[in-house]
Subunit: 307 residues, 5 copies
Amino acid sequence: MTERVREILSWYESDNPGTRTNLARLLNHGRLGGQGKMVILPVDQGFEHGPARSFAPNPAGYDPDYHFQLAIEAGCNAYAAPLGFIEAGVTNFLGEIPLILKLNNHDVLHDEKDPLSAVTASVDDALRLGCAAVGFTIYPGSTQAQTMYAQAREITKEAKSKGLAMVLWSYPRGSDLSKEGETAVDVVTYAAQIAAQLGAHIIKVKLPSAHIELKEAQKVYQKHHIPIETLADRVRHVVQSAFNGKRIVIFSGGARSEDDAFFTEARAIRDGGGFGSIIGRNSFQRQQAEGLDFLRTVMGIYAGEIK
Amino acid sequence: MTERVREILSWYESDNPGTRTNLARLLNHGRLGGQGKMVILPVDQGFEHGPARSFAPNPAGYDPDYHFQLAIEAGCNAYAAPLGFIEAGVTNFLGEIPLILKLNNHDVLHDEKDPLSAVTASVDDALRLGCAAVGFTIYPGSTQAQTMYAQAREITKEAKSKGLAMVLWSYPRGSDLSKEGETAVDVVTYAAQIAAQLGAHIIKVKLPSAHIELKEAQKVYQKHHIPIETLADRVRHVVQSAFNGKRIVIFSGGARSEDDAFFTEARAIRDGGGFGSIIGRNSFQRQQAEGLDFLRTVMGIYAGEIK
Amino acid sequence: MTERVREILSWYESDNPGTRTNLARLLNHGRLGGQGKMVILPVDQGFEHGPARSFAPNPAGYDPDYHFQLAIEAGCNAYAAPLGFIEAGVTNFLGEIPLILKLNNHDVLHDEKDPLSAVTASVDDALRLGCAAVGFTIYPGSTQAQTMYAQAREITKEAKSKGLAMVLWSYPRGSDLSKEGETAVDVVTYAAQIAAQLGAHIIKVKLPSAHIELKEAQKVYQKHHIPIETLADRVRHVVQSAFNGKRIVIFSGGARSEDDAFFTEARAIRDGGGFGSIIGRNSFQRQQAEGLDFLRTVMGIYAGEIK
Amino acid sequence: MTERVREILSWYESDNPGTRTNLARLLNHGRLGGQGKMVILPVDQGFEHGPARSFAPNPAGYDPDYHFQLAIEAGCNAYAAPLGFIEAGVTNFLGEIPLILKLNNHDVLHDEKDPLSAVTASVDDALRLGCAAVGFTIYPGSTQAQTMYAQAREITKEAKSKGLAMVLWSYPRGSDLSKEGETAVDVVTYAAQIAAQLGAHIIKVKLPSAHIELKEAQKVYQKHHIPIETLADRVRHVVQSAFNGKRIVIFSGGARSEDDAFFTEARAIRDGGGFGSIIGRNSFQRQQAEGLDFLRTVMGIYAGEIK
Amino acid sequence: MTERVREILSWYESDNPGTRTNLARLLNHGRLGGQGKMVILPVDQGFEHGPARSFAPNPAGYDPDYHFQLAIEAGCNAYAAPLGFIEAGVTNFLGEIPLILKLNNHDVLHDEKDPLSAVTASVDDALRLGCAAVGFTIYPGSTQAQTMYAQAREITKEAKSKGLAMVLWSYPRGSDLSKEGETAVDVVTYAAQIAAQLGAHIIKVKLPSAHIELKEAQKVYQKHHIPIETLADRVRHVVQSAFNGKRIVIFSGGARSEDDAFFTEARAIRDGGGFGSIIGRNSFQRQQAEGLDFLRTVMGIYAGEIK
């Protein structure tokens, strides 16, 4: 085990050996194994946005096997997906890559202002399918946030007692937040803090903008001159907000974007001390070869081999 | 076991042998046994629409035994019904046809825009009544969809652990969808994807029209030139949306219609790679002999014996 | 055991011997024992309408013992009441008459348009009190119907597994129904069908009028010339709607009415193939001797001794 | 055991010996022991109205020990209080007086029109604290009444199975009732009936006025000339409404009032066949000596020693 | 054990030895150990207000270890925090200070008028992390107060049966209360009473103002001349309202304030018989040395060494 992984694991000493073993698996697998960095392939967009919007750009992605292969060949640390996708492919790739079972999901056939994801799988499903971790989404800011926090808490408790790692997607949304506010730096750091306090091992947030949403927070950012000009600054501030860097924070790639812009963001994540990325549409919505190239470039950036 | 059934079962390898045995039973029973095609008789209309609307056209159908007989004599793969109908007839037809116990139901004495079906039976009921599978309806798009997804998930988990197969009826409805949108091709494919991600073994959807409901989806269908002109195209797209054809998708027949129109639809389902039909009113609302003829013609189409 | 009781019990063969034993007890007890007809005394009006409205016409009825005595002396098949009334009297009449414990109740101190009864007793209460069956009210048409269906289902499942019979009161009410619609023939038959599909052994509905409430149903009644002119016609149609006569359907007497009118109704129930009546206010709101006479006349009609 | 207590216990024969033992304890303790009459000291006003409103008139009452002492010295049949008060004092007075643990409570920091009390203690708390009974408040007429009935039912079932007695406070309130209607004679009798049907052993209601609230009830009171002119008449009618006197009904004293008025009411309760009083503010809001005198006078009235 | 601690523990004799052992630990630890006084460090502001608002004034506080160290070095009786903070630091400070796990939390990304905190940890979490107590917040006055009381009750029951102490934060808020009313003396005393009646061992309230919010209470305060002029008077009245001083009541420090003002308040708490303070922002939002000085001064006041 590398020193860095040993250091990271030392932050989770209150967890049982089973959970820490699975955290070690996630950290030690793939191209970035042992470096304390992570690139995860998540494919829940079929549920969240619909199949055509997700897979038409690269129809191979309609097939559950495709994403296992992509994640394995690219050397991702893990592959994350809802129950159906994991069930449909897992027996073809037993033990080839750590799996994260996504335990709740949301669709846009009804797209409410204050969202609540439905619980669509369980910790025991993760165990029977051989997963290393479970994933769960919370929407801080939603009027239904309390329900999701309580669900997250129940699942986290069960996952930890059964030796799994817990990954929280923490995406602020809701009627009290402006659209711009969903990625405001004060809001994203707040989302990271909430996830950390809820007991997440790995926290997934969006990349923050320099906007500050909450009035009370604006005063504080001014008074204390918190540096938020560059993306790297803001990433550093998010990481600080996750227990001074003692929780693994990774950033979501979002919708398909220009490669250069994406790589620039990855550099900022790296330079700001972020732990990596969770990259869905930007990887599986390309032809496989191109997707592999893309993922390898991102990993090269995190590995410090590409400036 | 035929090669085709073996292939289909290979998609469900994460399930336990009990569940796969029941899937095999469903696939191997009746006139289409072994061909990887299915025609199922569902009779829940007494609950869903009321007894006279359902059974007055052929009053023999008031009797629970009638539908068992019809399904058996026609050579259907399975008979699906709510608790009362199954309980009332099962002992007269023990083991003669695989049964699917419908676990939730909805009536129209209160017909809300955002429907929620009531859970009216349990997995244990299915076991004590000798059923091969349980059925459950979700209404994606309803403001109450989360509740139904969570119920479906609980039932799916229990059914799978107890060796039963899971059939999901996935019918988009709700205040965010237009009437036309309920059968729009983007919405029906989305419904199939959600059911697949929830872990369904067999998915039942409505036949899709060429209408596209969601704005975000319209752009995608145009940009990627997804073929949706013919019904067979759209069936193919639905099947693709259910894990690239790795989940069994069957189509609902809907209200009583002209025979020729129905047979044309069956051909499109067959030609588009659909796995079959679930045919209620078009079969039991006729005199028995006529109903048997009708069902046999549909099966002949699926078997490829009738062009 | 008479041939008729044997026939009726044959419709319930999917139930365990304990439940069928209790059904046999209900069918074989009292004046109509063995004839496949039933008259049941229900006294939940103290809860449903208040004590003075229920018992002031015959103050003896304030006493819980009174109703046990009345039902026993009149030769009713069973006595049905809420927890308090059963608990207060049962030890004085152990084994003298089959008891039905009413498991939910509603009062009119708050009288909502879309009612939900409160669950006020349990299956285990029925067992410890020596009851043969449990009773439960559903209000199809209420916005809260789903909750009641689910409760009914849970209770039915538990009752059946513990060897009790299940009696469902199925009374359509709610904001989508007109007052007249609550007893419309299409609505009452629908209520009977729902109760049957939920797994009830004995179904209690109101006597239907010739009114047809639902638009979709009106077309069907016209097209298929369903006979609903006479009350006997309509009773026959209700019985048909309860699994072609394979479920026991009894009719509620309603508010205190003229004797002759009541006897005329009883004849129509008999002639239409109904299984009997559940008679509360018309029996216990009279002086005891008069109440006994009244009940005996009704039973005489069902027994065919009085034309 | 006196004949009267033996008679009262005979009404509860369906209960297990444990519960009947505790009922006997309540009936046999204190100054009125053995007479079939009860005076209970309830002190939940600190929760229900706030501490200063409750205890400032006699600051000794801030102390939990005070009320134990008062009830013991006055010779009350029992002392009733919420969890905190019982926990804080019980070890100083082990076995000196039967205790009733109040299981739900309401405060007026939010004072809603349709109240729901919060469940604040459990049957198991009552057992571990050595109580003889549990108490629970229902608000018939509240839109939330169904929830409270269901809670009451669960608690009653558990209490009875664990050998405790059940005391129901039945206080009509809610948006359908006028202020005057809360103590109307038809409403109070209805409240007593509901509590009895829910399985209460001891029922606590307010003293009824001659007002009649419900239209349907007014007709009945007129037609049947139910005597309600005097308070004793109305008490008699309440007792009749609680299973013809076969359930113990006691009356709440309400806010601090003139002594003579209170004693007049006690005489009416006695003369109308009521079983006694539950007296809080009128006893503990006085200096101790005065409070003891007051309680002893009331008991003297019930014992028939004071006319 | 000192006499004072022995006296305090005598108020909790109904609790099991495990719980009283943990109460003793809290009372005997740190600078004020054995004196019957308490200063607790609570750090849940990262969740409640966001990370920057909480930790930017002293960025060392982003790190979970910082607060353990601060509390230990200052000699606090205990350190209280949400799950994440405790999990992240506990293994570095095993047994060095009693811990209070905060079991529910609220954030301001959605800041509702009638708040409900989410349950974010469990009693079993507290046990596996070696905590001495659990903490829970209720908002009396909120329309959702009943839910929180019921949750508090469940948690209190479980904590007591598993040998932990229970600390209730009782903060009136909600649409029926004015802003000023949240700290009105009648409201704060009411909040203390509710917490005590719910079974709390330690009660945390805000310092009360001389304002009286509730009309009914105003009359009582005037009539009985309850002294509320000075802060010490009001503290005394709060302590009286918590079972005449037989429950431990501590006061929250609130937002960062001037040192002298804070020390004056501490003196009033001491002189009014309060048991101490829970001090968050005023201690951890300073540089460490300054924070230690501050806390030591407050403890000196409580110890009576500083006038």
